[in-house]
Structures are given as structure tokens and as C-alpha cells.
């Protein structure tokens, strides 16, 4: 397992209930695990727990079998590349400078940037379809371009695992599809990937496993065919849905309007 949480419980100070309640999730090498659930169900808390940014009140997390708190941050950054939900710059950086920071965990305090570092950066830019933006000021990018630049930075870390927190939320159809195809290709090359998303229909077509959180608890987990069922999705999101096969046979759901034919809420 490259990322693993066992019975992870997190309670934020002052909160009435736990943000996460005994959740177990694991991401193996060469697998794409999709994590979904309603707003506030604990998805980002689970990610923060897996990456050692919140200390658990119960249970444990590990990266490559080693307890997360034992990982120095720079070593963890050489293993896991993260694209978090939000990020704002306060100084004007170029796209190339932003992506070059993906090399920092591999550079000492004073080591000069090598030719190989530049090559890895160029490769990551090309793979995310942003090579032509290299010299642009990051603050002038569209939301979708900025997202792809940050994915390129995560790739420049040459990680063994990717964690993406809603990477497609600012992307148009073509660019989201390109990101999903890219992620799947990387997973097929052996990376582990945890993908947090609200776009479950799309994610189901790429996922090896899916897990749904509901109010801090693991509500469903398994291959997409088991999770993408009307009663599961309907119960987790508390809205009736109809499920039918998509063009590739993977179940896809459609939220129902009151009065639509389908199972009652």
C-alpha cells in the first residue's frame, strides 16, 4: 500500500462530532482510488490525515508502510505529489518557476538547478499540455490552465503517488477529460492515485476502486460497479437518482426531479 488509513478518527477542537469516524482507506500502487461524498463529509480531512497535516484522535495512517508522522516533509514530497483545492500566489511567478518548485524537495538548500531538473520540468509541462505557457505570468492564467500547471508541478516531483483534490472543478470538458486520461496513464505506469471529486460519473469510468464518505463515515467502498448503485448514491447524497449503464458499460447516475419516473426518495 502506498497510502493507508486504518480506523482514522479526527475530531476538530470545538466541533460537536468527529470530522472522520474510524475510516479505513488504502491506495495501492498502480491503482486509481476515487473518493467522493457530499460537501463537508470529510474528504479533505481524510486527505489531510493521510498526508500528516492533521493529527488523528484515533487510528493511524501510513505512507509506503511507514507511519506518516515519521516522514520528514521533504522526503514525503519526493514520494507523494499533491494538488490541493486552493492556492493563491502573492508574488508574480512565471509558470516555469511554479513548476520548478516541484523539484525543490529534490534540491538541497543551495544546490543549483541542474539540466536534468529543467528536463523534468519541461516534460511535466508538455504532459499537462501547458508547455506553451512556460514563460507566462501565473496570475494571468485561466482557472483551468492554473490547475494543469499545478498538476505539472506535482509530476515534476517525480512522485510514486498522486493526491488530487477536485482537480476537474475548474476545467472544461476537454481539459477535464485530458486530465483524467493523463491520470489513468500515470496509474497504468505504476503510480498510486487518490482522486477526490464530485464528478463521480466521470471518475467511475477511470477508477479501480471508489469510496464514498458520508458525515465522516465510510458509507460505501469497492469497485465502481458496486458503488454506483441507485440506493447507495441516493442514500449518501440524500437525493433520488436513476442509474443506467454508460457507453462503456460503467454505471452512470442521473439525479431525478420530483415527478420523474423512478424509485421514490
Amino acid at each position: 500500500m502506498i497510502l493507508e488509513a486504518r480506523d482514522l478518527t479526527v475530531r476538530y477542537p470545538g466541533a460537536s462530532g468527529p470530522a472522520l469516524d474510524a475510516v479505513s482507506v488504502s491506495v495501492p500502487r498502480g491503482a486509481l482510488v476515487v473518493l467522493g461524498g457530499p460537501n463537508g463529509s470529510g474528504k479533505t480531512t481524510l486527505m489531510r490525515g493521510l498526508l500528516g497535516l492533521v493529527s488523528p484522535t484515533g487510528g493511524w495512517t501510513a505512507v509506503e508502510g511507514r507511519p506518516t508522522p515519521e516522514w520528514p516533509r521533504d522526503e514525503l514530497a519526493r514520494c507523494v505529489g499533491v494538488v490541493s483545492q486552493r492556492e493563491e500566489l502573492w508574488v508574480p511567478l512565471t509558470v516555469e518557476e511554479v513548476v520548478l518548485m516541484g523539484r525543490y524537495p529534490r534540491l538541497g538548500a543551495l544546490t543549483p538547478v541542474s539540466r536534468r531538473d529543467r528536463e523534468v520540468v519541461a516534460g511535466a509541462l508538455a504532459r499537462c499540455d501547458v508547455a506553451d505557457l512556460a514563460g507566462r505570468a501565473a496570475e494571468t492564467l485561466s482557472g483551468g490552465e492554473w490547475q494543469r500547471v499545478r498538476i505539472a508541478r506535482a509530476l515534476a516531483q517525480e512522485p510514486r503517488c498522486l493526491v488530487l483534490d477536485e482537480p476537474g472543478s475548474a476545467l472544461d470538458v476537454r481539459h477535464e477529460m485530458e486530465v483524467m486520461e493523463l491520470v489513468r496513464a500515470l496509474v497504468d505506469e505504476g503510480l498510486g492515485c487518490l482522486l477526490i471529486t464530485h464528478h463521480l460519473n466521470l471518475a467511475a469510468r477511470y477508477a479501480d476502486r471508489m469510496a464514498l464518505l458520508d458525515r465522516g463515515r465510510l458509507a460505501a467502498g469497492g469497485p465502481p460497479s458496486e458503488v454506483m448503485r441507485a440506493e447507495v448514491i441516493g442514500a449518501v447524497f440524500r437525493w433520488p437518482v436513476a442509474v443506467g449503464p454508460g457507453p462503456d458499460g460503467v454505471p452512470q447516475f442521473t439525479p431525478l426531479r420530483p415527478g420523474d419516473p423512478g424509485p421514490p426518495a
Binding site: L53, R86, L93, E97, A109, R153
Partner: protein
């Protein structure tokens, strides 16, 4: 930083140092040559015992203030941060005024007292800003700095108001900063002290870059953010405190030069910090030249010159960046 930029900054620094040695209350470049040749013992004494340590000290203090400002701006992610914003000037000023009022004749009394005052302010601001266990919150840091500074300034004003006129004038002049009391000894003490904070800030350059992305992204890219924040706050503040002890409160260098250098060499700290060191050092040496030579034999407080020169420069920079 391109090679050309490095050469420009290096040559600029040399020119500033030569100007600092050449101009002053007595004589110009001719006196410098005579001093070097040693034909005139008086000129030589002025050059070696007065101007050389003064110029080098101004350069080192300027470089320190610039580094401190650049690092603190990255820490609080705010271009308005300045080495004194975090309560330091208040603490140092209070220390110095106390020393002037109650121990005016003690050798090194004022520098030592201002240093102690600055340390007190640093400790107090740090203590106030560590929230929820061990987290250092940059926003709270700014607020604590302003609050502690204002409190110290109030006490200082009260003491100054109650002091006799000569002491009042001394305190006022000290607060505006100057290198009139420079000596090889002062330079030695400052250099020995400042080299470690400067090296630590330099070694933190890449972590400062990461901080500019925000705390969480910085952690995902390998920076130990809490450690970095504490290191940067403490080293930058201690560096400034040493500068204050040897030359008083010199404003504007740590605010303006990092800005100008960001425009010149970009915001990445591996280039920015060396550029800021050279630029701030040169700027303060030149400001000190103006302070000495503008209306001899009166010496203007160097803080007055940095503001008089720095403000218009800054205004031009701002206008250019808005276009």
C-alpha cells in the same frame, strides 16, 4: 539572476563603497588618493580609522536590513512588511531612550540597551503570536508587532517628554539613525553577530519561495512550514536588532530595496536575497554619503536621507508597475 544583473549589482556596490570612502565632511576623491598613498597622515587616519569602518558598517547593516525585510515579507506574504513592523523599533527605541535618560555616559550603554529592548520586543511578539500550541500565525504576528510597538512607543514618548532638552535631542537623533559612531570595533561586533543569521536566511531561500505559495502547498512541496516560520521570524528580527544597536532605527531600506530587487531579478529568493543584500548595502552607503556631504559640517540623520531618497524612488517604481 542573470550574469548581467549580477555584474550590474556588483559594480554598483563597488561604486557605492568608493563613493562612501571619497566623500564626506572633509575632502573628496583627491583626499582618498592621498590617504591611500599615505603621504598625508591625517588623510590616512580619516580614511582608515573613520571612513572605511563607517562605509563597511553601513553596507553590512543595509544588507542585513534588506535581507530581513525580504524574508519577513515572504513570511507574512505581504509586501508592506518591514524589519521594524514587528515591534522591534518600539522595543529598541525604548531601550535606547532609557539608556540616554538614565545612563548617558556608560560606554556601549545605548547600543546594549537598544539591543536588549529589541530582544524584549521580539520575545513578547513571538510569545503573543504562537497560537494553538506551536503554530506561528503570520497575521497574529503582524498584529502583535503593531501592538507591542505602539505600547513601547507610548512609554518612550512619555520619557522623552519628561527629559531635559539635550537628552531629548540626543534621543531624537538616535531614533533617526546614523553611522557617526562607527568604529572597527562596532563593525567587528556587528559582523561576527550578523554572519550566522544572514547565512541561515540564505539557506532558507527555497523554503521562502515555497511559503509564497501558501502554507499548505509549501508543506506538500517539502517545507517544514512551522520550523521555517519560526526560523525566519527569529533570525530576521535578531539581525535587525543588531543593526539597530550599532546605527539606530534606519527606516525604508528593508521595505524599498526588496521591492526594487523583485522587479529587477524576480521573486525567487535564491536570486532575490543576494541581490537584496548588495542593493540594500549600496543604498545605505550612498544614503550615508548624502547624510555627511549634503550640508557640512552638519550631519543629517541617515534615516532622514533614506526616506527623502527612498520615497520618490518608491513612488516612481509604483507608477511604473501600475502601467
Amino acid at each position: 539572476m542573470t550574469l548581467r544583473q549580477a555584474v550590474v549589482l556588483g559594480v554598483g556596490a563597488l561604486v557605492a563603497l568608493l563613493a562612501g570612502l571619497s566623500f564626506g565632511a572633509t575632502g573628496g576623491p583627491v583626499a582618498l588618493l592621498e590617504g591611500l598613498r599615505g603621504s598625508d597622515p591625517a588623510a590616512r587616519t580619516i580614511l582608515v580609522e573613520l571612513r572605511l569602518p563607517r562605509v563597511l558598517l553601513a553596507f553590512a547593516v543595509g544588507g542585513g536590513l534588506g535581507l530581513s525585510g525580504a524574508a519577513l515579507q515572504a513570511l507574512v506574504r505581504n509586501p508592506l512588511a518591514d524589519p521594524y513592523l514587528l515591534g522591534l523599533s518600539g522595543g529598541a527605541g525604548l531601550g535606547a531612550v532609557l539608556a540616554i535618560a538614565f545612563a548617558g555616559d556608560v560606554a556601549w550603554g545605548v547600543p546594549a540597551a537598544s539591543f536588549v529592548g529589541a530582544l524584549g520586543a521580539i520575545a513578547l511578539v513571538y510569545r503573543l503570536s504562537v497560537v494553538a500550541g506551536r503554530r506561528l500565525d503570520p497575521r497574529v504576528l503582524l498584529l502583535s508587532g503593531v501592538v507591542v510597538g505602539a505600547f513601547a512607543a507610548a512609554i518612550m514618548s512619555a520619557i522623552i517628554t519628561l527629559s531635559p532638552a539635550t537628552q531629548l535631542r540626543n534621543a531624537f537623533l538616535w531614533l533617526l539613525g546614523g553611522f557617526g559612531a562607527s568604529s572597527w570595533q562596532a563593525l567587528g561586533v556587528f559582523a561576527a553577530y550578523a554572519v550566522v543569521p544572514m547565512a541561515l536566511l540564505g539557506a532558507a531561500a527555497r523554503r521562502l519561495d515555497l511559503l509564497s505559495l501558501g502554507e499548505e502547498p509549501a508543506q506538500f512541496l517539502g517545507a517544514d512550514v512551522e520550523r521555517t516560520k519560526r526560523l525566519v521570524y527569529l533570525t530576521a528580527s535578531l539581525l535587525t536588532a543588531a543593526g539597530v544597536a550599532v546605527s539606530g532605527i534606519i527606516g525604508f531600506v528593508g521595505l524599498v530595496v526588496p521591492h526594487a530587487m523583485r522587479r529587477l531579478v524576480g521573486p525567487l529568493h535564491t536570486s532575490l536575497l543576494p541581490a537584496v543584500f548588495l542593493g540594500s548595502g549600496s543604498f545605505l552607503v550612498l544614503a550615508d554619503v548624502v547624510a555627511r556631504a549634503a550640508i557640512p559640517p552638519v550631519e543629517l540623520p541617515v534615516g532622514v536621507v533614506t526616506a527623502l531618497v527612498g520615497v520618490p524612488l518608491f513612488a516612481v517604481l509604483l507608477r511604473r508597475s501600475l502601467r
